[in-house]
Amino acid sequence: MKRIVALLSLLFALIALYPAESHAAEPPSLYMNGERIAEGASPRVVNNFTMVPIRVIAEDIGYTVDWTAGTDQVRISNGGSLIELTFDKDTALVDGRELKLGAAAFVDKGVTYVPLRFVGEQLGLQVYWDSYSKSVFLYNPQSANPDEGDADGDEGIGTEDGEVKEPGGEMPAVPEDALAVVKEIQFDGARRVTVLFEGSMTPNEPFWSGTKLVIDMPYASLSPEIMADLAARKASQAELITDTRALERVRYSYYSSHPSTVRVVFDLKVRQDYEITLEEGALHVDFVLEELPAADPNKKYKVVIDAGHGGEDPGAPSVTGDWEKTFNLAVARKVYKLLEQDSQITPYMTRSDDTYIGLYERAGYANDLGADLFISIHANRYTSSVSGVETYYNRAESLKLAEVLHRHLVKATGLPDRNVRKASFVVIRETKMPAVLLECGYLSNEKDAKLLFTESVQDRIAEEIVAGIKEYLTAYGGK
């Protein structure tokens, strides 16, 4: 059967080579949660970047898009966050923070196009690109009701539209479908947050959005008192300021009315493990970290960046004709440069040019330095069909670093997540500090290889590795 499937896909691949003759012309389309949107404004590929019409996507999930005629700026907002784009500029401002787009936004026949990846990341959408039909499938993972104004993937709470609030002086009634009514949220001052409620509660599986932990509680509402208070303050969400170094605050809102859903968002400094216990009338969320390591502005962390292979060891060949050692060094240099700008970090490289350094020598170098972290950069190779990102660790003390960096690496590449794995590679085994080996993608896979040898992607990988290093050091400190 496998053989037949393989043949069939080959067949489709061949048919795709002759689109005019054998493949009925279905124009590239854009789909949101399975439904086709934006007819007449197809996604298109420009300089290897897939560009999509931003307005129709953003509006579909409750953002407003403003373009003032005569200017070259577009503002996309949902009340919570603001994205500012400038035509022909390949950076955007997201809540005032400059982000690389990869390709510049442009206007064609009154339609504004931006890179697909950016749309996915910034609007919190899952993106699937079907290379066969050249169509883009977007999914809004936060809600099955895109009409609910649920657009705020990053902030988590996005009911700024006032739809459910009717400030009328009297107490709002508890919605009929609510099986649980949240009365109060408490913090014990250390690691435990407790949601007190009446009735029966079945929370959804929590999910992470950046370093925020989000728990949705379907068939639940906020108590009439809380709703009245929110209405009086014209606020959409209530806040509990916790203000420890690990947990900044807890926010909660009546998030959706189809069905009635309460959303609780924990604004954490870093991702961390937690445990949820549900008992009669109370849902406890216990975090493992009470405090982050004290921030010592004078502390300097030593981070060793190891560009895999080099010299007579070229590493794996790439289908693009390049070698792994070239990729590894390029990204390592970029990481080094970015780390140099951080006053708390001193970066080191095991090799800064095309020479081979022994594996034990690399580990010994980091050990002699008394380094705090060791990060080895590699790219993978197997068959042409395998694609994705893997992060390896050896010793238990490296697992957290592996998890943090892996998450950033998956984000940076947009490639399939092939998991954090344990292995006994010399550089991660013989080092005496948290150490990981990153396999950034498969050079045997055309898509992966092209990405990895694209400068802007290398920049993004380096930025995310650095973001991961900083996140880790903030949460767990040095060695």
Partner: protein
């Protein structure tokens, strides 16, 4: 229109292959028996041959998550040749069955047993170089191939005649690899199992 006919020809060819392939799943050779049933991927053998031997070899799956043990029949012309052919068997693969060789592009320059030590001298052209997990599985595959013979007590892998620290730049290459480095009772070290938290 020219394109079209080319495509049609291809389609026909592929459908033919598809229908031929169907129902003729290659059977594993029996224990050293039937020399007339070539294993998948092998060419037809000449009629008269010395005694055939069934040996194990190891490939990986589509996702490179683990090793798969396979068997094939070899026909060593002289007693010492059994090791070379067993190592060469690592190059066999059957993509359609989801079996991929980790040694396909390597060159086995010399395979020789001397005093319990099996020395395998390898050349690694670029195409033979894998990523970290690939290297790890490749090493395990060749070690398991070598240690299937009770008389092999250690495996000495050389690259172009020399002892090197690492084959492909991630794993340590021990000199030699001792029998027991990959215990049978550990089953195959799969990448999946390696994901377990310590």
């Amino acid at each position: 229109m020219r394109k079209m006919s080319g495509l049609t020809a291809l389609l026909v060819a592929m459908l033919l292959i598809a229908s031929c392939g169907k129902g003729t799943e290659p059977a594993l050779p029996g224990n050293g028996a039937d020399t007339n049933t070539p294993a998948a991927g092998q060419n037809d053998e000449p009629e008269t041959k010395p005694e055939s031997v069934t040996v194990k070899y190891y490939v990986s799956d589509e996702e490179m998550n683990s090793l798969i043990e396979k068997q094939t029949t070899i026909e060593p012309a002289e007693p010492g040749e059994v090791y070379r052919l067993a190592i060469e068997a690592l190059k066999q693969e059957d993509e359609a069955a989801g079996e991929f060789s980790l040694w396909k592009n390597a060159i086995f320059r010399q395979v020789e047993l001397d005093g319990g030590v099996l020395t395998v001298d390898i050349s690694l052209p670029g195409e033979a170089r894998l990523g970290s997990m690939g290297e790890s599985l490749a090493l395990e595959a060749i070690a398991r191939s070598a240690f299937q013979f009770d008389e092999v007590e250690a495996l000495e892998i050389l690259v172009d005649g020399e002892q090197v620290e690492s084959l492909m730049g991630h794993e340590e290459l021990l000199h030699p690899i001792e029998r027991g480095a990959y215990p049978d009772d550990l089953n195959f070290r799969t990448a999946q199992a390696m994901q377990d938290e310590p």
